[in-house]
Symmetry: C2
Subunit: 112 residues, 2 copies
């Protein structure tokens, strides 16, 4: 899969608008999950693999490379961690946690 670099064509879009690149990136399996799981602190490869419950090493590595190139994560001695940009992105999406709970609740009510 080609890297969704803002400014160039990305999967599913020919305009190359930054939002399209971002939606392409975040729409890839596990991309959101990795960012989500990394926000609780740096992790080594195997540690991150466990936080993600069920990701295959192949894909984890692929995603890590992409996220690194796009500057959302970086690798230090402590392992992989969110870059300043990554932290910033996490802050944007962090309300999803609370939102998902109320969503789950609503769906549950509904099914009564």
């Amino acid at each position: 899969m080609t890297l969704p670099l803002p400014g160039s064509q990305v999967r599913g879009s020919i305009t190359g608008k930054p939002i399209m690149a971002l939606l392409d990136l975040l729409g890839r399996t596990w991309a959101l999950g990795i960012i989500w799981n990394l926000h609780s602190g740096p992790a080594t490869f195997r540690e991150l693999q466990q936080r993600c419950e069920k990701i295959s090493p192949t894909l984890l590595n692929t995603r890590l490379k992409e996220l690194k190139t796009l500057q959302l994560i970086e690798s230090q001695e402590a392992g992989y961690q969110l870059s300043p940009q990554g932290v910033d992105l996490y802050e944007v999406i962090s309300p999803l946690g609370a939102w998902s709970s109320q969503w789950a609740q609503a769906l549950k009510e509904e099914r009564k």
Copy 2:
């Protein structure tokens, strides 16, 4: 793919935590894109297809069904539109628009 219903096991997670269901859902190709493109108003099937630039009808229909079941969108006479929950979710993710611009900018600077 099985529907990521909060409370039950979802792709990539065995815990069934709402956030995992949500991350699974949003991590599917085009799910975020559909929500994003629907926020500007209701759209018919073919119209939505065009807003999404390059989605195949097969997948569009699959995603629409999922999003409908999970109550993020609904279909009315005007076509498909975000449900109240969907609007709410959109509001959570809408800062991604601005974020993506500054991200694109930062990447550009970087490559100088």
